[in-house]
Symmetry: C2
Subunit: 487 residues, 2 copies
Amino acid sequence: MLKHNSILNLDTDERMHIGTYLLEQINDYMTHIRGVRVSPELSVDEVAEYVRRISFEHPVSAREAIYHILEGLRQYQVHTPHPRYFGLYNPRPNFMGIMADTITAAFNPQLAAWSHAPVAVEIENYVLKEIASKFGYSAEAADGTFTTGGAEANLTAVLTALVHYFPSYAKEGLRSLPTHPVMYASAESHHSLVKAARSCGLGTDSLRIITTDSEMHIDVPALHHQIQVDRAAGYTPFLIIATGGTTGAGAIDPINEIANLAEREQLWLHVDAAYGGASVFAPEMLDLLHGIDRADSITFDAHKWMSVPMGAGIYITRHKDILHRTFSITADYMPKEGVDLDVIDPFTHSIQWSRRFIGLKVYLSLVTAGWEGYRSMVQHQTEMGNRLRRELACSNWKVVNDTILPVVCFTDFNIQSKIQSNFASFICQEILRSGQAWISVYEINKVPVLRACITNYDSTEEDIMVLMELLNGARAEYLKRHPNGLS
Amino acid sequence: MLKHNSILNLDTDERMHIGTYLLEQINDYMTHIRGVRVSPELSVDEVAEYVRRISFEHPVSAREAIYHILEGLRQYQVHTPHPRYFGLYNPRPNFMGIMADTITAAFNPQLAAWSHAPVAVEIENYVLKEIASKFGYSAEAADGTFTTGGAEANLTAVLTALVHYFPSYAKEGLRSLPTHPVMYASAESHHSLVKAARSCGLGTDSLRIITTDSEMHIDVPALHHQIQVDRAAGYTPFLIIATGGTTGAGAIDPINEIANLAEREQLWLHVDAAYGGASVFAPEMLDLLHGIDRADSITFDAHKWMSVPMGAGIYITRHKDILHRTFSITADYMPKEGVDLDVIDPFTHSIQWSRRFIGLKVYLSLVTAGWEGYRSMVQHQTEMGNRLRRELACSNWKVVNDTILPVVCFTDFNIQSKIQSNFASFICQEILRSGQAWISVYEINKVPVLRACITNYDSTEEDIMVLMELLNGARAEYLKRHPNGLS
C-alpha cells in the first residue's frame, strides 16, 4: 500500500530531481518552440483516451506523470507561446512570470486577510497604484483589485456601478428598486458583459447593445439617442462601457467624447481596456486612450499585453470607497490580527474570498523589465503589426480595420468584392493545417475576414514573412481550385 | 537603455540559471520550514517600505528580484505550508501541485475554447467526473466547472438554481419575475453566500440565515418553519445551502434530512463541502456526508484538503444542461474549429471567460498519489485531530465542538465558566508571538474559544506536542497574571 507521504511528502532530493527535470523540459519547450506545430490535430476521442491512460487507481511516478502531461500539452494544444501564434490576446508568458506562479504555488499565501499575507497584499497594492497612475488616476484616490481576468473585472464594474447608483442593491436587491436600471456597450464590446448582465440579476435585456460606426467604434450619437429613449420609457440608465481595444478588430471607442456624455448624463463610465490598456506604457501611444483618466473604473488584463501567464486581471476605480461598499463583509472566522491596523483585507474588496497571489507575476515582471522594458515591448509589437500591414499591402491583401494596435484584419480585395464567404475560412484552415502559424476568422459587417494579432514579445520580422508566405500560398491554392473566384 | 528582450526574452542559459536558483530556494524552504517563524511581525509601514524598495523605473536583475521576493515572503507572511500552521483550511501544497502550476504558467493554455486547449479541457473533464463519482453522482449525468475557489462555486450554485427555477432570470432579470426568490443557509455557513446574494441581484435580505442547534448544525425544523413563513408571506423559496464542514467548527449539516425537506418543498439543494468533501476519499468516513449524492449541486475545493496550491475550486451538478443554460453565449471572435465537434467550450459553462488551467494541479496530484494516497492522507490528518483532542483532554482543556473532522475548538473548562472573554485572545496572541505555531480564535455561542485545525499532510505527533506545550505554557502565564481567573 502506498503511504500518504510516499508522494505527497517528497524528500529534498526527490524535489530537486523532479524540479530540475521539469525545468529542463520547460526550458527546452521555450527554446525550441518554433519547431512545434502551432495548432494540434483535433480528435476528441484520441485526446480523451490520452488523458484517461493513467488511472487514479494505479498511480505512476512523478517523472512519468510529468512526461505524460508535457507530451499531452505538446501534442494537444494551440501553442500560444509560439511566435507565430497570431491569435487572440494570449501572450507568450515571460519567464519571470512563470517563476512568479511557481513561487505563488510554493509559498501559497492566502490573499483574504492582510495579516495572513502582508507582503503579498502590499505588493498587489503597489502594482495597482502604479498602474492606476499610468492611466492618469491619482495614486491617492485609486483603489482596485486583482481578478482572474477581464470577465471578473467587468462584472466588478457592473456591481460597483449598481451600488454607486442604487445603494440598496446590495442589501435589498434589484426588486426593491423603484426603477429598472439599464447599461450600454457597443456591438463590438466583449461578451463577458453579457455574462455580467446575467450574473448581476439585471438580465441580458438590460444591456443595450449600441451600433458601431464604419470603423467599429461605438456610435456616440446612437448611444446618446438610446439613453434618451430609455429615459423616456421609464428606464434608469446608470452605466456606459467603452472599449479600449476590441477583441475582434482592436477598435478603440472615443473615450473622451463618451466621458463628456457620461458626465452630462450622470452615468458611471467604465472602460474595458483589457488588451489596449498597455498602450499607455508607450508615451507616443498615450493619446489612444485620451480621456481614460475620467473613467470611473477600468478593466486591464496583465495576462494580455504584459505577457504574464493567465490569469491576471485588474479592476481599478477612482472611487476610493466603492469596492468596500460593494463587497465588505465581516466573518467570525477571519483572522483578527489586522483589526487595529490601518489596512484593507482583500476579501472585502472583491467577488472572490481567499485567492491566489495574482499580483506577483506582474510585480516580478515589472521589477526586472521596468517600465522601460514594457515600453520597448509595446513599441516592438506595434512595429511588427505595421510591418505586417505593409507586407499585406505589397502582396495585394487589403487591411479592413483601422487601428494602430497590432491587430490586423484583412482579406483579398478582389475576392472580397464577389463576397466569397468561404475564402477566409479556407485560408484560415490552410494556415492551421500547416502547423506553421495560427490566425483566425472574424466577421466585419457580416463579411468573414482574416485576423492576425501580434501577441508575442518574441515575434520577429522573419515570423511575419513566414506568415506572408503561408497566406500567399493558401490564396494561390484557393484560386487554383476556384479559377473563377476573382472579380 | 534596456532592450525589451533583455529580460522578457531570456536565453536558454539564463532560464536554467534562474530556474535552478529558484528551485533550490523553494526546496530549501520546504525542507527547513519547521525552522521558520509561522507568523510574521505585523508592521504596515515596514512591509510597505520593503515592497517599494525596488522601483519600476530602476529594474534589477532576475536573481536580485527573486531574492527580494523570497526574503519578503519569508519575513512577512503566515507560513501556511508550516506543519504547525493549525489554521484556516490552507494546506501545505504538495510538490506535484507546485509543478503543475509551473507547467500551467509555462504552457499557458487558454481554457475558453475546447479547440484551443483540448488536452487541458479533457483533463479537467476527467477529474470532474472522477470526483463527481466519489460524491455518488453518476459520471454520465454529472457536469461541472473548475472555479477560483468556493466563493465562485457558491455563486455559480446560486445562479444555476435561479435559472433552474426562473428560466427568464438570464434574459429578463429578477425584476421580470412575478415573485421574490429567497434562499436558506445556516448561521455557520460560509459568508461567501452573503456575497453571492449581493452579486446575483437578490440582495442579502433574500438570504435567510437559519439558526443552528447546540452542535452547530442547521436547525432543520427552524429551516422548515422559515420556508412556510416565507411562502405564507408571498416569497418563493428556491434554494437551500447545506454545509459539509463549516469553516468555524467543522460542523456537518444533516444532509440527508435536508435532502428530504428539499425534495418535499421542491427546492434546489446545494451542499457547500469545500473542505469536508474530501472525507469521501476515506471509505470509513463516507457516512459523514450521507445524502450528498441527492444534492443538486456541490462545492468542493481541491486547494483545501487535497493539498494543491490555491485556487482550485470545483462546482459539480447532476443537472447536465444547467451550466449551459446559465452561461452559454456565442461570440464572433471565438475559435470555430470545435464547432462541428461534440465538445463543450469551457467559457459556456462558467462565470469566467478565458482562464487558467486550474485542473492540472488536481490531475497531477491524483495520477501520482492515487486515490489510495488521498485516502491515507485524510486518515492521517483525522488521526492527528483525534490525537490533539486526547492531548487537550489530558491537559484539562475542553473541546467544545463535535466533529470527527480534524477541526478542534477548545477552551479551558474552569476559566470558561467565568466567561473570561479575553482568555482565548490572550492564549492565541501568545502562540502567535512565539512564532512556533498558528491557531485562531472563533466564537461559539458568543464565547470566544481557540481553534486548531490540521491542514498539513506533514503535521506529525511531535507537532501536536509542541502545540500542547505552547498552550499549556500560555495558560500558565495567563493564570500567573490573573491569579483569580479560575472558577
